[in-house]
Structures are given as C-alpha cells and as structure tokens.
C-alpha cells in the first residue's frame, strides 16, 4: 500500500514535470528564442538542461534505495532553474553537475581504497560492490567517474562556444572546423582533469589530506591553471596538449615496466594511480598502456588544432581565402560603382552643357531681340517670340530624356514592376511580362535592375531579330531573379559589347550577377540575380 502510493506520487510528479517542460518549451519556441541556433539543436539543449542532471544521477545510482525520488527532486530544481534563471546559469548547470557527479565517484573510490566509511549506498552506476572482486569494483567506479567528468567538460566546452551564449552578438559564420582561435579556450579546459590526474600520479596528496604544504602547493598550481585558462587561453591549450602527450607516454612506459625501477612515493600500498587505472600488477599495467595509447592518440589529434598562431593561419587558409576574395571583389565593385557614378555625372554635365544651357542662351538672345523689335516691328517680334517658345519646347524634351536616363519617373513613382511594364509597353516588339513581386527592393537595386532589363531589351531589338521577348521577375531565397528571354537568332557574345559588361559591373555593386546563354540559333536568355530584401508591399493600381 505504502509503495503503491509512493509509486503513484512519483509517476504523478514525473508527469507534472513533463507537462511543465512542454508548456514552457512551446512558449519559448513561440517567443522565437531559438534564433541563435537551429531549432532541433536548441530543443536538444533544453532537454539536456532539464533532464541531464536527473538522468545522470539515476545512472550513477547515487540515491540508492530511494531511486527516482532524488532524480525527481533534481528534475524539479532543474525545471525551476531552466524556467526562471538567467540563460547563462542554465547553460552551465548540467556540465557542472556532471563534473560534480564524477568528483563524487572519485571521492568514493578514494575512501573505498582507504577502507574508510562512506555515507552513501555502495553502488555507483554499474559498480554494485556486492559481487566480483574489489579491484574490479574500484575500476568500474573510476571509469564511470572519469566518464562523467569528461562528459561534463565536453558539454561545458560545447556551451562555451560563443554562439550558445545568450546576449552575445550572433555571428553567422560559415561552418568551421575546430582548431582556430575561437576554439582555443575549450582545449584549455582539459588542463583541469589532466592536472588532477598528474596530482594523483605523483601521489602528492590533494584536497582530502590536509597536509598543509601539499594542499597549498596543489591549490596554487590549480589556481594558476584556472587563471591561465581564462587569461591566456592559447597558452593553456598548448599546455593541455603537451601534458596530455607526456602523461600518455608515461602510461606506455608503465606498460613497458619501466617505473618499477623508479619507485614513486605512494600512500596506497604500492599502487601507481594512473588515471582510470590503478597499477599494482602486470595485468593492470597493460590496461595503463591502453589508457596511455588512447591519451597519446587524443593528444596527437589535438596537436595540429592547438598549435601556435602561425600554424593556425595555415589551417585557416580556406576561410581566409574566402574573406580575401570578398575584399578583392568589394574593392573592385566599389571602384566600378564610383567610376560608373562619375561617368554618369560627366554625361549629365555634358548633356546639360551642350543641350539645355546652349538652348537657354539662344532663348535669352531671341527674347532680347524680340524686346528690341517690339517698337519697330511687332510682327517680326512676335515671330521671334514664337521661335523662343519652340526652343523652350525643345529644351523641355531634352530635359525629359535626360531625366529618363537618370531615373525613369515611373520607377520613382511606382517601383520596378510598373516601370518594367511601362518599358514593355514602349518597346517596339511584343514583350510578355511575368512579374511576381510582393514588395519593393531598395531604389538603387530597382534602378540597376531596371536599366539592366532596358539594356537587355534594347539588345533584343537591335541584334536578335526576335518577334517577341519574355521578361520574368520574381523574388525568392532572398534574391531578385530576372530572366529576359527572346525568340531571336541567338549568338550574343557578352564579351564583345560593352553594354552587358557595364551592366554586370553595375549589378556587381549589389553582389548581383548576370549570366548570358545564347547558343547560335537562339533562344537568348539573360539571367540576373541580385540578393536583396523587399520592403512592405505598396498598393498598385493596374
């Protein structure tokens, strides 16, 4: 009866936890808290945050007879932390708890080896302590402890990744291999377990044995390691790799039987404590060799990833080359944009100078002559004034075409879609339009695209001999895509004329590209793609 009630309460508690978790999860996903990383990964983190610690506790079997009560309590605490605490705290809770579980296992192994009493149940994970030899029990506890510590450190390393931290600027960088500067602090964290293993090996007793000098020395070196990790992450990473290699080599040496001739001070009955393996026999020295080989392999794998900056520059060359290429491209397109703008201004200046200004001078002269003629010959004066009026009409016409060349009025008034429709109406051949734009790109992009299509259509009229052309405009995947197709004779060579090259330069300023496909016999397809965003849609009358 008592156990039934207990079981029901535990099950109810778990169900409540799950419902709570799901509710908060859904709310957070709705609140778009997942923008810093892919959603599945984010949900995975959330599950680890809440259930990681209780699961680890259950696996370690720390609660013993009261199985599921401690995990349930821990789950409630984790849920509360996850729901209400700042995100940074939550991020580190699970790794810290895992490391704590591992340390508990190490302490258990220590007290067991010394034959000291232990307050918790004798089982630790799959080391039950009831069957098998005591040596096996010790090994099992040690392996699991180090497993928890390593899992905790690994998780901490993952979460130290700057993208996982809340409140930081999220840099969307291309997927990178480990081994560059941003990853270095992570490797430095390895110093802490390595330091613990070295202390164990050397037998300089640590935190439990309060021999003052030993404890002080241990804490001082440990503190130095922590400071190094924080302050000089690169140095800490290099030191971690070096320690890993040396420690691993020592394990191989153990297997070869070398330390028998170098007795190490040890308070534990001639046991050499080498990480997971405590060596006191021939067979356990072989295990030490295996561990050493694993550590050396890990160190060698890490070596190129944690080497000095010069090496790293070589390792990063792919990303750097991409950046360098981008800089070159930006420099070129910027120069092109400035050249184009300057040439445009020169053209406008020349047109104004040769056309409008000259005609206005003539207009003024005609009016002055008419002024003089009025008293003498009103009829001749009227003739001159009429001439002046004609001149003003010509000036207006020239200004109109000039303005059209700078920014077509329809484009400014209605946007790209209607401007292209107007262009199609004015074209001397049939142009079918297929425009699907839910909004408007920025005016500079619109202008560049407009002139690109205008130039393409002009080429169709001049060179292709086409009966009709087709223009399709759409916006997808963050880019404006335009295709101008004609049913003409084809054979257009983008390298021959300056028009297409000029268009390409102009579009290049916006990271746009222009591609021409024109096999002899046609059809000619000119495709334009400009990455851009659309503004909110405007109401259009059509």
């Amino acid at each position: 009866m008592h156990w039934t009630i207990m079981g029901a309460a535990v099950l109810g508690g778990w169900a409540a936890c799950m419902i709570w978790f799901c509710l908060v999860l859904v709310r957070r996903i709705r609140a778009a808290e997942v923008r810093a990383m892919p959603m599945l990964r984010w949900v995975g983190h959330a599950i680890a945050d809440v259930f990681g610690l209780p699961a680890a506790t259950a696996v370690a079997d720390l609660p013993g007879r009261h199985a599921y009560l401690l995990p349930l309590a821990l789950c409630l605490i984790a849920l509360a932390v996850w729901t209400f605490a700042p995100r940074g705290l939550t991020r580190m809770a699970v790794p810290v708890a895992l490391i704590g579980l591992g340390i508990a296992g190490l302490l258990r192994a220590r007290s067991y080896a010394r034959g000291e009493p232990w307050p918790w149940p004798s089982s630790y994970g799959f080391a039950t302590g009831t069957g098998g030899s005591l040596g096996t029990y010790l090994e099992l506890v040690l392996i699991q402890s180090y497993g928890f510590v390593i899992a905790g450190l690994w998780l901490a390393c993952r979460r130290l990744d700057h993208n996982s931290w809340p409140g930081r600027v999220v840099l969307r960088e291309p997927a990178r291999r480990s081994g560059n500067r941003a990853d270095r602090p992570r490797w430095g964290l390895l110093l802490i377990p390595l330091f613990g293993m070295v202390v164990e090996l050397l037998g300089r007793t640590s935190w439990l044995d309060f021999y003052w000098w030993d404890a002080t020395l241990t804490m001082a070196v440990g503190a130095a390691a922590v400071i190094a990790i924080i302050r000089w992450p690169a140095v800490a990473a290099d030191a971690a790799v070096a320690t890993l290699l040396l420690f691993g080599l020592y394990g191989l040496a153990l297997a070869a039987g070398w330390p028998r001739h170098v007795p190490l001070p040890s308070p534990y009955n001639d046991v050499v404590r080498y990480g997971v393996v405590w060596v006191n026999s021939r067979s356990s020295s072989v295990l030490a060799g295996v561990e050493g080989a694993a550590l050396v392999s890990f160190g060698l794998w890490l070596l190129p990833r944690a080497l000095d900056d010069r090496t790293r520059t070589l390792m990063r060359s792919a990303a750097d080359a991409e950046l360098a290429g981008r800089v070159v491209r930006l420099t070129r397109t910027r120069a092109d944009a400035l050249d184009t703008a300057a040439a445009e201004l020169r053209r406008v200046e020349r047109d104004l100078h040769d056309g409008v200004q000259a005609r206005l001078v003539a207009l003024g002269m005609s009016l002055r002559a008419a002024e003089r003629l009025i008293p003498v010959s009103p009829a001749a004066a009227a003739c001159l004034v009429a001439e002046a009026r004609e001149t003003s009409l010509t000036v207006l016409g020239e200004l109109r075409s000039l303005v059209r060349g700078i920014c077509p009025p329809v484009l400014a008034e209605r946007g790209l879609a209607d401007a292209l429709r107007a262009l199609a109406l004015d074209a001397p051949l049939r142009v079918n339009m297929d425009i699907d734009l839910p909004g408007r790109p920025d005016l500079p992009v619109e202008t560049a695209c407009y002139f690109a299509v205008a130039e393409a259509l002009a080429n169709v009229v001049k060179h292709s001999g086409a009966q009709q052309a087709h223009v399709s405009v759409k916006h997808s995947d963050g880019a404006l895509r335009i295709a101008v197709t004609d049913d003409g004779q084809g054979g257009a060579d983008p390298k021959r004329g300056s028009g297409l090259a000029g268009l390409e330069r102009r579009l290049g300023t916006f990271d746009g590209v222009l591609a021409v496909s024109s096999p002899p016999g046609g059809p000619t397809i000119i495709a334009i793609e400009v990455p851009c965003a659309l503004s909110s849609p405007k109401i259009s009358i059509s």
Binding site: L396, P409, E413, L425, D426, P428, S542
Partner: protein
Amino acid sequence: MRVVIAEDLYLLREGLTRLLLAHGIEVAAAVASGPELLAALLAERPDVAVIDVRLPPTLTDEGLRVALEARRQVPELPVLVLSQYVEQLYARELLIDGAGGVGYLLKDRVFSDDQFVDALRTVATGGTVLDPEVVAKLLRRRSAEEPIAALSPREREVLELMAQGRSNAAIAKRLCISEKAVSKHSTSIFAKLDLDPSDDDNRRVLAVLAYLNG
C-alpha cells in the same frame, strides 16, 4: 465651364488659373495636394479637372491616383491629366474604364493655349484627348507586326490625329484636305483595322485605342 486645378508649383498654378480665366473659364478651386484635390473634386463637382500627375504629399503619382479615385466615386468625371512626361502605362490606366472624358497631355502643351483650351473643352464634353507623344508610341509599337502596317502614310496621319481626339473637321483643317476625304480615309482605316465605324469622336478614339492596346 467650371474647372478645378491641381498643381503643386505656385507659379504654374497661378499661370494656369490666369490662362483659363483669360479664356472665360471659371476656376472653382486651385489646390496644391492630393487630399485637397479629392475633397475639392467631390465638393465642387467641376465640369472638368486639370490635374498634375506628381502632387504632394507623396510626390509620386498622387494626382493620377486621385483622378482615378474621383472617377470611381463620380463616374465619368472629366479629368485632364498633365505631366512632365507621358507614359502609355498611365494612359491605359486612365482609359481602362472606357467612359471617356479623359485627357492626358504633356505640360508643354499649355504653351499653345488655344489648343490646350480646345482639348479641355473636348474632355469636358466627354471626349478623349491623348498627347501626340503617347499616340506616336502606340503606333510605333504595333507598326512592325500588325495590320496597321497596311495603312497608307496618309491614313496613319489621320489615325494619329484621331487618337489625339480630333474631330473630322479638325483633322481636315490640320492636313489641308477636305472633310470628305478625311471621312473616306477613316472608313478605310476602320475597314483595315476591322473596327466598327462610328461618327462619335469619343467612341472612335476609344475603339482605336482598344485596338492598339489589345
């Protein structure tokens, strides 16, 4: 005849007002922005409105939008739209309801005040007046491929003037031929374009435009 003027440049607004007054046309209101224009059109119900395409507050095609909106609320309200440039696109939007009483001219045409006032009167009486530049574009566009190529040069001239909203008499005067010759030409044009011949100026223009825009 009562007219509402919408033009944001003060000098031009005053100039237009004076020009119309000089021709004995009453100016009911002269406004400078889109919202004012709509209010004035709905309140005054003028015989015709003279509207600049580009008006505050947006300084885009505000005038055109207001003109279309006013015609939606007051069907067949005659509007003469003026602009620094002409676009077939805008002409189509104005003509699309087929109700007539529409004008679309370059601002330059104001210089020839007699012709401008004639156009204004044509629009006020439900006629259609298009700027020669728009008409030329319309004709150029189709000339290459369609039966319009079958027209003789003289017939093309007649068609152009017809699309500008001129009557047979005006066309005859302009081309220095007899009115009878004009009607002969127009019959021939309608036959070649396969259109229903009609004496009504507006219907004639709309038919031509409908064909050209088809």
